[in-house]
Amino acid sequence: MDRTTPRARIVSSPIDLGELLASVADVSCGATVLFVGSTRDQNEGRRVVELQYEAYEEMALKEMERIGSAAEAQWQIGKIALVHRLGNVPLGEASVAVAVSAPHRSDAFAAARYAIDQLKKTVPIWKKEVFEGGEVWIGLQGTSTTTNEKGR
């Protein structure tokens, strides 16, 4: 497998989806699945202004590489690439993307779903949601210590 393009990447500028798709192109693969996670304008009734992502970069890259290897071991795929954006991500822009090529579409779908599920479970990247009237670290909802209302 061609590994000149790293399987896992962390970027601070907008994610280039065309480049990501090109990085998994493989003429022996008839199926490619791309997942893109982007900033929604609302979450649990709050009007979101922007998201801020922070990572433990060295470990995050290692975990993303590990997810790629695990996907390659579990399904018959050609190439897989995972990329996460850090810093401020404006509404509607991609914060995370996963691309998988495979000879058959079942494997491409299964591996892409696995990769994004695992990425959200185990990769040390945190998201702070800035909404109208405050901000909150996602993943801590329900604990009274987490919402940090601005202006109080």
């Binding site: 929604r40 470990m59 959200k120 990247i125 945190w126 210590t145």
Partner: protein, 87 residues
């Protein structure tokens, strides 16, 4: 012996630091290091139940033994971890 500690996200904000160094007479467990951190940064206390730990960039349990030069990271819940699907 010395352990380097790294703080991220909500824990970084609450502790007010991105990293710290802890000195020990003998190799502590991760949990013993956490007890010391809680004394130095009382704002961390409420997070005991949801924090997980990584040593040298690998997830570990709280009884994991620390060695000189180890990097201990305090990992608050990751973005998709606790509240199910956000996208």
């Amino acid at each position: 012996m010395v352990v380097k500690v790294r703080f991220f996200a909500v824990l970084r904000e609450r502790a007010g630091v991105t990293s710290a160094e802890l000195a020990f007479d003998r190799p502590p467990s991760v949990n013993e290091a956490w007890e010391l951190l809680q004394q130095q940064y009382p704002a961390l206390g409420p997070f005991r139940e949801c924090v997980t730990f990584a040593v040298n960039r690998q997830y570990v349990d709280s009884w994991h033994p620390l060695h000189d030069g180890d990097e201990l990271a305090l990992i608050p819940p990751v973005s998709g971890g606790c509240d199910g699907e956000d996208c």
